[in-house]
Symmetry: C2
Subunit: 475 residues, 2 copies
Amino acid sequence: MTLQNFFEYIDQHKGDCIKRLAEIVAIPSVSAEVGKREDVIRMGVWIKTELERLGAETKRVDPGMQTIDGQEIPYPPVILGSLGNDPNKKTVLVYGHYDVQPALQADGWSTDPFTLTEKDGRLYGRGSTDDKGPVLGWFLMIDAHQKLGLELPVNIKLCFEGMEESGSEGLDEVIEQEAGGWFKDVDCVCISDNYWLGRNKPCLTYGLRGVSYFRIVVTGPGADLHSGVFGGAVHEPMTDLVHLMSKLVTPQGRILIPGLMDEVAALTEEEKATYETLDFSVEDLQSSIGAKNNIHQDVPSILMARWRYPSLSLHGIEGAFYSPGQKTVIPAKVSGKFSIRTVPHMTVDKVTELVCEYVKKEFSKLGSKNQLLVECMHAGRPWMSSPNHWNYVAGAQAVKKVFGVEPDLTREGCSIPVTLTFQEVLNKNVLLLPVGACDDGAHSINEKLNVTNYIEGIKLLGAYCHELATVEKTD
Amino acid sequence: MTLQNFFEYIDQHKGDCIKRLAEIVAIPSVSAEVGKREDVIRMGVWIKTELERLGAETKRVDPGMQTIDGQEIPYPPVILGSLGNDPNKKTVLVYGHYDVQPALQADGWSTDPFTLTEKDGRLYGRGSTDDKGPVLGWFLMIDAHQKLGLELPVNIKLCFEGMEESGSEGLDEVIEQEAGGWFKDVDCVCISDNYWLGRNKPCLTYGLRGVSYFRIVVTGPGADLHSGVFGGAVHEPMTDLVHLMSKLVTPQGRILIPGLMDEVAALTEEEKATYETLDFSVEDLQSSIGAKNNIHQDVPSILMARWRYPSLSLHGIEGAFYSPGQKTVIPAKVSGKFSIRTVPHMTVDKVTELVCEYVKKEFSKLGSKNQLLVECMHAGRPWMSSPNHWNYVAGAQAVKKVFGVEPDLTREGCSIPVTLTFQEVLNKNVLLLPVGACDDGAHSINEKLNVTNYIEGIKLLGAYCHELATVEKTD
């Protein structure tokens, strides 16, 4: 009995695998809608029942009540599972989420979003790729092993939540509570909730940027003023704010806050080389952004700008006129919002300190009599793992077994906060092992998962467990 | 029979004058509300009936239908009146409006806004000062002359509209149509629809600034982007826009558009002297703006900045994030709105040309691949009259007769478009002769008209007619 038998089994049961996915795509587990909360909970119960059918021990944790639109409704449960506790095997913790983004056919879907529809090798449906397909992949992988009488080579702990699309409310507390309990023996973590860099080549993802979100508030007159009556006589908060915002970043994306770039990890020759061979092109970027206004002209520069260097984006202004048409008001109080995507070794405190100091200094240069407030509204740290860790080695060998290629080593520019929580609370390595392709449209209309990504993805999760079992554990 | 008899008559009938004002404040002629349109029309009919009672010829002009909130309702009528056609007398055209701003007691009014309430010498009620008090002043002045058997020393044409608070829709057409008809013999125009500079001293107003409203549109990616995923890789429209907006004006209000200030009329010693003696203080400004963030520290500089120099205000940005909280989006298309208050001898075309040329040049310096559009969305010219004109001389002598002081000569920073229309279509001098005080709160809660301003105002309108009759007509 070999891994090959498992691969063949999955190929032979392709139709069943798709049918099972259709079954859960049909449950509209939209966590953002009050009216769908019952469906989210139903989906959580489905997960628990299915885990038990596979022989897993389970635990349902209910994080309490949520007030949404003035209504009190229960949070969906976090479902924990445990399969095997052989002290001679490694233990991998698998995370996924069973809630989905909202979807209405009226938004422009070509098919009913909650009816999985196969067309041209693609499985269209809300949650197909984010994250029901990958979650079900783990179940089908385990099921295939059991049907084949093939022993699972690792112990598996599972953690599935139903609030990922709505801020993962309550999850951190569960992870902290269970660190010494349900998650006690975990050796490494695997999350399949991101995407390949391109459409054709699998990847392992080992880094995510953090984010520090700021606001600059400038307060002037006691109330909004008529610009005809008072224009020219008062220091206008909008003028001050726009001057300050123009001092933060250049049109070429260069951050102007002194000292900030000193915090960025130096680029090594080894890391630089990893950007040369990735399955990505300038055209891929232009197709994603729907324009040709890219700053950089070569792939390594583009990807480094998105993954390993900080960026600063100006999001907007609260308190000023924002509607179409014309309004001739001098706003009394305006609040400019911007965020900095952070990377190793930037720290939240240092970034806040540098930004606030600089903005205050620039404001003092303006010679305005208005009042300034600058503050960090929210901050999440960057996450980075080592692609040389045995967890990644197992992932890379699994990719090679299933796809016959070395995976791309990627990072992403955005944040997946649970990744950092797992790494820090459990102090274990986290591998991001995506199943879907870059064009799956996770949060868009016509979300899809390619049949090949799905089927080969199930094989990948199985192969990863087998590689985990044999790789040398060096920590 | 002298003017003194008229003054005494008004003093003796103070109670009646207030009672009459209460009668029309009780008609909630709010032009902005569909549900109150019948009341606005009722108020127009009241005006017409009252004019006829005074023996005036009248004409009702209905400007047609308005679509508001998807409903078709008639525009309120423009009511024209004519009293006297003695070719040996001068003919003055009086303009006013009988509609009012919306008002709800729930907004914070201390009393019912549509019940005129006298307290501490103040008449509280919506429309008391804007503009029912001054409009009724003309009627009561005429009525007093008739009761006293005192001949009106001028022919009076009257023009009252019911859409002033909602853009004066249809009025310009009526003025143009009647230029050679109802308004044929007009020698000068008088409008009582603005306010004293302070609380204590009457004024004549001889200038208003114009306004040119612009937008700068920067377009980048095909759709809004996730700042985590794409931050650092694309030229962000918000960055470009904020850089451009910061190049327009300094925090001290200095306009940075080259050539723009060259268009401004030079300050003469004579004009400069007029700012020295005005009834205004730095504290008056600070009290109006509810703060101490005034740019200038002396009265002449403050008033010149508001009246005779241009100003540039940044109003806001359309298309960017404007809500409380945080959103990490790179907006695909943003539109920055700003306006320039214009003064003699700036022309609409020259201002547009200088602004567009400059913004385009500054954009080209940014080295961005985004797309730029800059355009003037709307423009109204400044208005200026000569305070030496015989119409103003009559006004000033009238103030001296009633108040015993020389009036302040003021301008205002905002626009009253009908002023310019009358001046240009009829080619006659327009005098702004305010009745109310600076703190009347025309568009606010607790709008009021002081009893003294009202009573002395009625006298002022009468005295003005008498002075008009005797002043030498030099044009």
